[in-house]
C-alpha cells in the first residue's frame, strides 16, 4: 500500500515541474507581449530608447528580429545573459561590428533549425533603421571547443541556440550557430 503522503509529495513535484515549464514559456510569451507595447511606444516617439516594458524591468527591447520566410517576429533584448534570455533573444555587439543574438532553443529560437542558407533576416533598430541580412551558413559546434570571437570583423550576424532543438535533456554542450552577412554588401 502506497502511503498517501508519498503521492501528495510526488504530485507536488509534478506540479512544480509543470509550473516551471509554464513559467518559462509564459515568461517568454508575456515578455514579448509586454515589450511589444513598449517598442511600439518608442517607435511612435520617434525612435527614442524604449521605456521599461513593465515596472522594475531590467530589460529593454533593443531590436526587432524578423524572418519573412518563417513569418517570425521577435523583440530582442540587450545582453545575452541568462536572466535576460527569459524574456527574449539577447543581443550583443562586438567592437568591430560582430552582432551576436542568442536565445533559448525551447522558447524564442525554436525556429533556428529551420533557417536555411539564403533566408533573409531583418533587424530593426529602435530608430526604425532596418538592416537586411542573408543567412550564410548553419553549423553545429561544441561549446567546449568553440567560443565566440566578439572582436571578429563585422558586419557579421551570428545567432546561437542549443542543439539539438528538441533534446529532452537540458544543458547539452552542442550549439547551433547560424551566421548571416549583410545583403547590401556594405563594408563599414
Amino acid at each position: 500500500m502506497i502511503a498517501r503522503p508519498v503521492i501528495a509529495l510526488l504530485a507536488l513535484a509534478a506540479f512544480g515541474q509543470l509550473a516551471q515549464f509554464g513559467w518559462i514559456q509564459g515568461k517568454g510569451l508575456v515578455g514579448q507581449w509586454l515589450m511589444a507595447s513598449s517598442w511600439a511606444a518608442s517607435a511612435e516617439a520617434g525612435g527614442e530608447s524604449p521605456k521599461a516594458p513593465w515596472p522594475g524591468a531590467r530589460t529593454r527591447p533593443a531590436a526587432r528580429l524578423f524572418v519573412p520566410e518563417l513569418q517570425l517576429d521577435r523583440l530582442v533584448v540587450q545582453g545575452a545573459d541568462t536572466p535576460n534570455l527569459a524574456w527574449g533573444p539577447g543581443i550583443e555587439t562586438g567592437p568591430n561590428g560582430h552582432v551576436l543574438i542568442a536565445a533559448h532553443r525551447d522558447t524564442h529560437f525554436r525556429f533556428l533549425g529551420d533557417l536555411e542558407q539564403g533566408h533573409r533576416i531583418e533587424l530593426e533598430q529602435p530608430a526604425g533603421v532596418v538592416r537586411h541580412w542573408r543567412v550564410q551558413e548553419s553549423r553545429i559546434v561544441d561549446s567546449r571547443s568553440t567560443s565566440l570571437d566578439m572582436n571578429a570583423p563585422g558586419p557579421l550576424l551570428t545567432m546561437v541556440t542549443c542543439w539539438p532543438i528538441d533534446a529532452i535533456e537540458a544543458g547539452g554542450p552542442l550549439r547551433l550557430v547560424v551566421s548571416a552577412v549583410p545583403i547590401d554588401g556594405e563594408n563599414s
Binding site: A14, Q17, Q20, A80, S143, A152, G171
Partner: protein
Amino acid sequence: MKFPRTRFLVMFVLAAASSIQAQTRAGLQLVGESSAVTAVTQATEVDIRVTGLLARTTVTQRFTNHTEGWTEGRYVFPLPDGASVDELRITIGERVIEGEVREKADARQVFEQARAQGQTAGLVEQHTDNLFSTSLTNIAPGEDIVVTIGFGQTVEYRHGRFTLRFPTTTLPRFENGQGADARTLANAPPAPTYTIGAPPRLTMAVHLAAGFELAGVQSLHHAIEIQGRGSDRIIELAEPELAAGRDFELVWTARDEDRLQGALFVEQMRGQAHALLMLLPPREFKPVALRRELILVIDRSGSMQGEAFEQAREAIRLALDRIDHDDRFNVIAFSNTALPLFDGPVAATRANLDQAYRFVEQLTADGGTEIDAAMGLAMAGLPGVGDNRSDSRGDSRGGNLGYLRQIVFATDGAVANEAQVLERIDREIGDSRLFAIGIGHGVNDAFLNRAARRGHGTTTLIKDPRDIAGRMSELLVQLESPVLEDLQIDWPVPVDTSAETWPERIPDLYAGQPLMVLARLDGPASAIDRGSVRATGFRDLEFVEMEWPMRDYFSATGVARAWAQARIEGLADRPEGSMDAQLRHDERLLTALEYRIVSPLTSLVAVDRTPRRTEAAKLQRVAVAGAAPADRNAAALTAMPATDAGSLEAGLRGLSILAIVLLMIFNRRFNRLERARRETDTGDAAGHAGEQA
C-alpha cells in the same frame, strides 16, 4: 627520311619544353595524396573599376580538379606595388565561402586544421611586397572551384597620363652568392614546377570612370576594344588567348592643364575621415638655371642580358644627351663590382661626355647584381657638395657652391640584398635625390619604389623598347624642373588631435609627376568640414601657399584602405632603430586587422564549414566566421551563452511524475475497490453461514 624525323622530334620536344616553361607562371599545381598531378587553370577573369585615382580589381579564377582523388594546390601571383588585398571568396557549386583576415600564423593554423579535417579551404598570403599566393585544399574529384580575390590600388598619374597596371608575369628573384640576404628567397613560396594544358585564358574588363573628359585611352601591350563616351569607358581585351605573359598597362589622358592644381578625396571609415590630397603639377616648368650633378648608374648584371640591357644603355645615352654644359656628371656601371667612369663627378665638357658615350658603348651584361657598392659610390659625392642644400629654407639653395645631386639608376631590380641597399640609402642619401628606372617586364618595382621613396625621388618603369625615348625624356624633363620643394601640408583636425600622414617625408613636386599624400584625420568628416587643407612650399626659391576647403572634397571608396596600406608599408620602411621593433610589428598588425587587408603580417583564410572528406558525424573543432577555437588565448573570446531554459526538461519531468502520480492514485483506488468488494464478499458469506446456523 630518317633525318627530318629526328629533327621533327627534337623540335617537338623543344616546343613542349618551352610551352611547359611558359606555363609555370600562371597555373595551379595540385598535389594529390599519392603523386603530384596537375589541374588546369580554365580561365582567369579580371574586372577593374576605376573611380578617379583609385582602382578596385576583382580577379576570378576557375580551377577544375581533373584527377580521381582529393587534391590541393598553391598559386603564386604578383600584384601591383601598393595593392592591398581585402577579399577572398571561394565558390564550390552553390556554396560561397567568404574569407576573413587573421594574423598570418593564425590564419595558416586555421587553414592547416581545415586541411587535416577534410574541409575545403583557401588562404591568401603576402610573401614579398608584390608577391602573393593562394593555397587551396580538399578539392573534390572532378570538382570546379572558383576563387575570387579583390584588391585596391591607386592609379599612377604622371606627365598628363594616367596609368593602370595589372601584372601577369612574375620575375624570379635573383640571388647572388655569399653575403646575400636570404630572407627574400626564404619567404617566397616554391613556385609550381610544371603545369599541363591549354594556355591560361585571361579575360579582362576595365570600367573607367575618370571623373573628367577623356582625351584618349590606349593599352600599351594588348589589343583592346573600347566603348563609351565622355568621362566613362568600358575596355575589354580583344584577344583573350594571347593575353597572358605580358603585363597589362592601360593609359588614359585628359585635356592638358598648365597650372599646378590639387584634388581632395575623402572616405570615412571606422568613424574617422581619411583624406587623399593629390597635387597635379603643370606638365612643364622651367625654374632658375639650377646647376645639377647627375650620377648615372647602370645595371649590367646577367639578369639584364639582351633587350633589357640595350634599353638601359639607351636610357643612359638619352640622359647624357641632355646634360647642360655647366652641370657635372659621372657614370657608374655595376655587376659583381661597381665600375665608375671617373673617380668623382666631373664637368660636362665635350671630351668628358665623349668618354662617357664610349664607356657605355663598351659595357656588356654579365655577372651578379651587387647594387650596394654602386649606390655607396653614387651617394658619396665630392667633399662639401650637397651640404648647402640643407633645410634652411632655400637661403643657400642654388648658391655657387651647391649642386643639386640627382642619382639616376637603371636596373631590373632583381637584387637579393634589398635590405642592405635600403639601409645604405637611409644612411648616406643626405641631400641627394634618387631616381629609379625599372627596365623590362616583371621588374621588381616594389624595391625600386622603396629605394626611390627613401631617396626623395621617384620610379620610372619602362616595359617596352618603344617607350624608352618617351619615358626617358619625361624623366629628364622632370629632373630639370622641380616645381615645389620643402613641401608641407596642414590638415584640418578637431582640437587636440592630429592627422597621421603618409608618406611621412613629403617628396619634392616635379613637373609632370603628381604627389599623393594620405592622412587620417582624427574625427569624422562632419566635424572638420569647415576647415581646409593647406599646403606650403618653395617654388623657384619663392614661398607658395595653397588651400583646399574640406567641403569641396570628392568622396571616394578605397582612400581609407589606401591609407592603411601606406601606413603598413611606411612603418616597415622606417629605418632600423628608429622605433621599437615590437611596437612597429604591433602597429602594423593592428592596422592590417582593423582595415581588413592582407599584409606581410596578416592573411585571408576561408574555410568551408561543411566537413566533406571525413564523416559528417564527427564533431569539428573549427572556428566559424566570428567564432574561434576555445583554446586560443584571446581575451576577446567569450564562451557560448547558455541557450537552454530547461523548460522542455521540466515539462517532460513534470508530465512523467504526473503520470506516476495518476498511476499511483489509480492503483490506490483500484486496490480500495478490490478490498471493498472482498469485504462485501466475506460479509455475505458470514451472513449466509449465520442463517444456516
